[in-house]
């Protein structure tokens, strides 16, 4: 929903400013200044929207974001792809994990503008177009590797990354290298079992 604050929200003309006076010299002046600065520098100015293009689940996407917009906000709010969850917004829980250029990352700490040209994979991009689940998705379902399911998209992407990185050699290694994904329901042993099953399948 990011938009240029200089332009009122479509269909919402009533601005309510209760409780104190003044307030909204906002819009035009600031945005004008920002545009001027943008012309001088190879930069994105504060409060201006800037375009960023990345590949999302195999498709090129271009969107306009504020400098402060994080990748998870761009996914959820700008693109409406809500499979990626926010659990803390500070890189402390791993719920927002996505793959970026093949690496698992916390999308809440990634500024969207820094994903220019990157390949992003979210939970929505794992099953094949025919609906067949990715082996990790199938293993999570089969092993009951979740309860509430909220951390699950992040767990699954992290699990894929864990094997890709070569850190799924043993149960102990999986536990250590899956410790960036909190699961408050306590499904950890089943998560480990799911990853072992997929690892064995891939090796077999």
């Amino acid at each position: 929903m990011a938009r240029d604050p200089a332009h009122p929200r479509p269909g919402f003309s009533r601005r309510i400013f209760l409780g104190s006076s003044g307030a909204v010299a906002a819009g035009a002046g600031l945005a004008g200044g920002a545009q001027a600065q943008a012309q001088q520098d190879p930069a994105v100015a504060p409060e201006a929207l800037s375009k960023v293009t990345f590949t999302l689940n195999g498709k090129r996407r271009t969107l306009a974001v504020e400098p402060r917009t994080t990748l998870v906000e761009a996914l959820r709010d700008t693109l409406g792809m809500t499979g990626t969850k926010i659990g803390c917004n500070h890189g402390q829980c791993g719920a927002c994990t996505v793959l970026m250029d093949g690496r698992r990352v916390n999308s809440c700490l990634i500024l969207a503008l820094t994903t220019e040209g990157a390949e992003i994979v979210t939970v929505e991009g794992l099953a094949d177009p025919g609906g067949t689940l990715h082996p990790m998705q199938a293993a999570f379902a089969e092993k009951d590797a979740f309860q509430c399911g909220y951390c699950t998209p992040g767990q699954i992407l992290s699990a894929i990354g864990c094997i890709e990185e070569g850190h799924a050699g043993s149960a102990a290694e999986i536990r250590e290298y899956m410790s960036g994904n909190l699961c408050r329901c306590g499904a950890y042993p089943n998560i480990v079992a799911a990853i072992e099953a997929v690892r064995d399948e891939q090796e077999g």
């Binding site: 400013f17 909220y150 909190l182 408050r184 499904a187």
Partner: protein
């Protein structure tokens, strides 16, 4: 027909959860939606003397800023512990009073979440600060409900002094448990959309009817005008039951700005805008004769509460149900301090009280020179120690014996500090688990079609517990359909009554309603086929036709699959509702439940005492150099009546045990006593277990038949697994190190 009950069934919502297609509250975005953010109080006690919203309003994208001065009116409701639907009885932004740190003082609405959050940071407030006490003072505690004492908040049976006098050994010990926060992975969120006088609220909820009731009361709306939607809940554990200020403020803001508004509460704010597990002190005095039989049992619990609610989760009711003793004295006390109101968090009293009781039993066993398992055995009882009624079923020692064998307890050298492995000190410990069987009234509607499909509808919730799946299993078993042919709709308030998903009630209560609704579908089909001119049941008295595992059976050995019978009827569809009420449920409890509250039968009825039991064994390792405490093995055996789904039940019990590890070793909400704020209000420094903390967890699920609890014979298991874990670990730490840790969490700093 494959067996659908007491077997392993993969969750029916698994596909949605692994593909990101399960929609949680913050995933619904009504058209034109704006974003909310809370500004909260820096101080804990005092008065707001000024609030300047100019900078917030000037922030680009900010649409409106609400404070107590301009917030639309609504009628506030009482907190759950004061008989209302609220998470607490005090409502912020109604005036200038500040009663806890982190109390909402302003609500910012903006075009983006980022702008709203920045706007909230820019709200400037000034205060007249009062003196705050965030930690309770046990010396200021008071007995709850002293007048009349209808709920048995104090109880004396026999003579404690005499019991202690005749004891061969006794212990007099105090255990301390901290503030803890639920920290579900899903952040609190609420989205409100008004369309004229009709309101829709998306919010993760473990009680959609409580929510609807509270909102209707607040806005003077008929309940039919309020829709509450919560199909998936990203963990709750007690945190998402009552209606909270952040919800009410979001509804108010949406009304004022004339557009839908969504608020996602920050992780830090989650520590103050909803409930938590209050800190407590547990004092036990136990006496036993030389054979180990208890001669005296005294438990005084002092728990923290706020200045505006009496949050009592009566732990003494639980502990005094546990072991036989001729002399019993219990007191339920509270002490106030300046926080928001606490509430219920997974095993709301049992985690704390059994951390105390089961360590006290271990300390007593050591003094007696008895094996701790045998001390439990000699004090086991088939009658409730206070009420005198029999237990409807009680498999405590079967659980101990099963877990003891699986764990290898026989290998234990009883001498503390005697077992080592390299740089690790090794200890074994065990403890009892128990949880009351609370049975709520519940209803469900089932519509079956001749195509072999059924719709099951009820206002229950799947907070990760597997409710969607077990309701489908129950329907499948009764109607003779595959599980995947039974579509379960839950998590909306307009559906038939179901209880709060709390107190481990849902499977037993709502499951029984689904069971009865299916039988009612059978009766409806029986009525239809008996009225027909042909077919096996034509002309048969419908009262003589029963439904058994998908087959209609009548006199003379007549039988027909239900789905076939249904197909023979002109409508080809039958709908019926089931209303379940335990015979011991009072009218008052029934009324309370229909009003969105918590009304249950049990755990002690005039005829029976209903509890689930378990035994947990822990291996603990303490590192010689780092003093780190690790739990490489945790074995639990549990008996809780009928197992509906062995896969999801296993996960629930295992998850409870993981919570036990967290409570034992990690979880504490730290207090800044000087300024009365929670210090580690995040999930980096509020430590919950990570994958590496959880190694071998073995769960054994024993068979147990109980025909009294409900038609399904089910007891709740959502909380059973956490009870006793912390004590088993504490006992194992003592065994490993010789050090007795009586304060949670138990950390390396306690062992240096």
């Amino acid at each position: 027909m494959a067996q659908t009950i007491n077997t392993e069934v993969t969750r029916t919502d698994a596909r949605r959860k692994v593909t990101g297609a399960a929609h949680y509250a913050a995933d619904f975005t009504p058209a034109g939606m704006l974003h909310g953010a809370l500004a909260t109080s820096r101080i804990a006690v005092g008065t707001l003397t000024g609030i300047d919203t100019a900078k917030a309003e000037a922030e680009p994208g900010v649409v409106a800023v609400f404070t107590h001065a301009n917030l639309p009116d609504y009628k506030t409701v009482k907190g759950i512990y004061s008989g209302g639907p609220g998470s607490a009885s005090f409502w912020p932004m109604e005036g200038t009073a500040i009663k806890y740190a982190g109390q909402p003082i302003a609500y910012v609405v903006a075009e983006t979440a980022a702008a709203a959050r920045r706007g909230a940071q820019l709200v400037e407030a000034s205060y007249e600060e009062g003196e705050a006490h965030i930690a309770m003072d046990p010396a200021q505690s008071f007995i709850v409900g002293a007048e009349g004492d209808g709920e048995g908040m104090t109880l004396t049976k026999g003579d404690i002094a005499a019991g202690l006098a005749e004891a061969a050994q006794s212990v007099d010990v105090e255990y301390v448990t901290p503030f803890q926060h639920h920290n579900p992975m899903e952040m609190f969120a609420a989205t409100a959309e008004w369309r004229g006088d009709r309101l829709t609220v998306w919010m993760p909820s473990q009680s959609v009817r409580t929510l609807r009731h509270g909102i209707s009361a607040a806005y003077g709306l008929p309940e039919t005008a309020v829709r509450v939607i919560s199909p998936f809940v990203g963990g709750a554990f007690g945190s998402k039951a009552g209606i909270t200020p952040y919800t009410m403020l979001t509804i108010a803001a949406a009304k004022a700005v004339g557009a839908p508004v969504r608020l996602i509460v920050t992780r830090q704010q989650m520590y103050t805008v909803a409930t938590f597990r209050p800190e407590s002190v547990q004092r036990f005095r136990l006496g036993a004769d030389a054979s180990g039989r208890l001669t005296a049992f005294e438990h005084v619990e002092i728990a923290q509460t706020s200045q505006f609610d009496e949050v009592v989760n009566p732990g003494t009711h639980m502990t005094r149900s546990m072991y036989a003793s001729p002399n019993i004295h219990t007191e339920q006390r509270l002490a106030r301090s300046d926080t928001n109101s606490g509430g219920f968090m997974r095993a709301p009293n049992e985690m704390q009280t059994f951390f105390g009781l089961e360590q006290a039993m271990d300390e007593l066993a050591l003094k007696l020179g008895m094996d701790p398992v045998e001390l439990r055995r000699v004090n086991d009882t088939d009658r409730h120690p206070v009420a005198g009624v029999p237990f409807s079923s009680r498999s405590l020692m079967e659980c101990f014996d099963a877990a003891k064998a699986s764990f290898g307890w026989a290998d234990r050298n009883a001498e503390p500090g005697s077992m080592t492995d390299g740089d690790w000190l090794v200890g074994y410990g065990c403890a009892t688990a128990t949880y009351p069987t609370n049975i709520s009234p519940s209803a469900a509607r089932v519509r079956m079609q001749a195509t072999g499909h059924a719709f099951v509808e009820l206002a229950a919730h799947d907070v990760g517990t597997g409710s969607y799946t077990i309701m489908a299993q129950i329907a499948a078993a009764r109607l003779g359909l595959p599980v995947e042919a039974c579509d379960v709709v839950m998590g909306e308030a307009h559906l038939p009554l179901a209880p709060i998903s709390g107190g481990s009630t849902t499977a037993a209560s709502a499951g029984s309603a689904v069971h009865l609704a299916c039988l009612a579908v059978g009766a409806e089909v029986a009525r239809q086929v008996s009225a027909m001119s042909e077919g096996p049941f034509a002309g048969v008295d419908p009262a003589q036709i029963t439904l058994e595992d998908g087959m209609l059976r009548g006199p003379g050995g007549k039988s027909q699959p239900l789905v076939e019978a249904l197909a023979s009827t002109p409508r080809g569809e039958a709908t019926a509702e089931g209303q379940y009420r335990h015979p011991a449920l009072t009218d008052e409890a029934l009324r309370r439940t229909y009003q969105g509250g918590y009304g249950v039968a049990g755990p002690v009825t005039p005829e029976m005492a209903m509890f689930a039991f378990g035994a947990e064994f822990a291996e603990v390792r303490v590192h010689r150099w780092t003093h780190e405490i690790r739990v490489p093995r945790l074995h639990g055996a549990f008996a809780a009546g009928t197992w509906l789904n062995r896969k999801t039940a296993h996960s629930q019990l295992m998850g409870g045990m993981v919570w036990g590890i967290g409570s034992a070793l990690l979880e504490v909400t730290e207090l800044d006593h000087t300024r009365a704020r929670f210090l580690n209000a995040n999930i980096a420094e509020y430590l919950i277990p990570v994958n590496a903390d959880v190694r071998e967890i073995r769960v054994e699920m024993l068979e147990e038949q109980d025909d009294y609890v409900n038609p399904l014979g089910v007891k709740g298991i959502g909380e059973l697994g956490i009870v006793g874990t912390a004590a088993a670990i504490a006992n194992a730490i003592h065994h490993a190190t010789g050090k007795r840790l009586r304060r949670l969490p138990m950390r390396m700093s306690d062992l240096v």
